[in-house]
Amino acid sequence: MDAAVLNAFWISVKVATCATILCVPPALLLGRWLARGTTRGRSVIETLCALPLVLPPTAVGFLLLALLGVDGPLGREGVGLDLLLTWQGAVLASAVMAFPLVLRGARSAFEAVDPRLERMGESLGMSRPAVWMRISLPLARRGLIAAAVLGFGRALGEFGATLLVAGNLPGETQTMSLLIWEDIQLGETSRALTLVGLTAILAFVLLFIVERLSRSAGRATR
């Protein structure tokens, strides 16, 4: 296999893995809060978090560019982050795009846990954190893994926001989606087809895992 394809494959996997790791902890906490909390304003927060699902990826990329730019609040002269045109920038862009999917999955996974089981844990003297660790998380784990896998898949296929934030630097930030785009631009259709086949196989495997986990999650949580 062509070195550029292999490079793009590993960069995609690295970026998607790091993006998943980045968005899972906040998605767990927020998902749990959305599933069980009673505070007003939950729907406003949930809508805000879902925006990247419906906004054009280029719009999200542009916002990130504005935030991470040299003059931006998170940029070199702001908080001091220097992520533009780096693979870490691609991670951030992919994480932002994948977050709503992971959050929705986490929320559904926690909602599927019978709240009476959590109350029973409390009645046996468990503190809230103990109930979370011993009951909620283990019972929701299949749904949570499915959510993370879905997020990984979304991050793997990210294109628009990544292109704007991290550019398309071969061996640095060039992911499979960016290489497909470049190959089509340059008329390298056979390599583009190889990449499409590779991404299709990956997507199938990931969706198959999600499907299996989602089916068994319903049985395991009650």
């Binding site: 009476r116 409390e122 009645s123 003297g125």
Partner: protein, 355 residues
């Protein structure tokens, strides 16, 4: 135990106030009466609109002084109708669940396993346990957590009647072995009589009666069509190897010798339908029990009559209350009336062990 609870739900209002000095209190009433909501208020799963909940001298909730202990601080052992076992754990891990909370004393765990005969189930996955086994595990989990009060919400309600009767002795033994303050919700008069020393009747969210189980549950409107008398006493054997149950007032009832243990306190059930009535002691009859009694109540429901009679001992001492069912025609023919004498006749084999 002092409960004063007002809880307003969407289409229902619960307002119950009672005080009970006995250890085991039954909450009796039809489905939808508010019994489970009341128990959930005690467990801290629901917050009353106003009120005060005091169990064993501890105030768990008091709206006036702003006290409202969190569920994990209340020290309750709760057994709901469906057991609510943790599905991702084995039976043993479920029994040890409180290790992550208020702790599981090894002696309490050992007693729970022994009394409820859970030893053979320990390594099983809870999903493979039958309904009766699941309820025994749920009860064991609550008892092993060394609670300060036990809340049992129809723990046998999801089981069919024969299974309920098989599990009842475990429940009786367990509640007696641990000797804890107990709130027991049920709409089965036999279970309430077997376990509780006092009963509070709740109907439509209101407290409508309170008293000893035999007196309160024997009212025709609560006894149902299949009332079972519960006799509790000490087992004694005579020289011929026959087993007798010594009841209050010197009343003795012959019970099946098989399974009876001399000197042990035991409980037997006798269905109201299994008791015959006679005006004089019958002769030439195989039934071994013929108790002299005085009629206290006669409740008629169409052609069915439920008679409540106080058994009398050899010296006329008052013994237990028993109920017998008969038809309106039989009542007329025998001329039965309140304060009149009657003989209650039933077979030894009509007495079946409950605990």
């Amino acid at each position: 135990m002092k409960l004063d609870v007002r809880l307003v739900l969407d289409a229902f209002e619960l307002e119950v106030r009672f005080e009970a000095d006995t250890r085991a209190v039954g909450l009796f009433g039809p489905s939808g009466a508010g019994k489970t909501s009341l128990l959930e208020c005690v467990a801290g799963w629901r917050k009353p609109s106003v009120g005060r909940i005091e169990v064993g001298g501890r105030v768990l909730y008091d709206s006036a002084s702003g006290v409202s202990l969190a569920p994990h601080e209340r020290g309750v052992g709760y057994v709901p109708q469906d057991g609510l076992l943790f599905p991702h754990w084995s039976v043993e891990r479920n029994l040890r669940a409180a290790e992550h909370g208020r702790g599981v004393p090894e002696d309490a765990l050992a007693t729970a396993i022994e009394v409820l005969e859970l030893g053979p189930l320990l390594s099983r996955d809870v999903a493979t346990c039958s309904g009766g086994e699941r309820q025994r595990v749920a009860l064991g989990r609550a008892l092993a957590s060394k609670p300060e009060v036990l809340l049992l919400d129809e723990p046998l309600g999801a089981l069919d009647r024969p299974l309920r009767r098989r599990i009842l002795p475990y429940l009786v033994r367990a509640t007696e072995a641990f000797d804890l303050p107990l709130l027991f919700v049920s709409h089965d008069p036999t279970e309430v009589q077997a376990i509780c020393s006092e009963v509070v009747v709740i109907e439509g969210g209101r407290h409508v009666a309170q008293g000893g189980p035999a007196a309160v549950l024997g009212a025709a409107e609560r006894a149902g069509t299949d009332f079972e008398n519960v006799l509790r006493g000490v087992v004694e054997f005579d020289e011929e190897g026959r087993a007798h149950l010594a009841l209050d007032g010197g009343v003795r009832v012959e019970v099946p010798a098989r399974g009876a243990e001399a000197g042990a306190t035991a409980m037997y059930g006798v269905r109201a339908d299994d008791i015959l009535l006679a005006l004089a002691e019958p002769v030439g009859l195989s039934a071994r029990n013929c108790l002299h009694a005085r009629v206290e109540r006669l409740d008629a429901d169409g052609q069915d009559v439920l008679l409540t009679a106080r058994c009398l001992g050899p010296l006329g001492k008052p013994g237990p209350l028993l109920r017998a069912s008969l038809t309106l025609g039989a009542r007329r023919e025998l001329g039965l009336a309140v304060d009149g004498g009657v003989q209650l006749v039933f077979k030894t084999q009509s007495c079946h062990p409950l605990g």
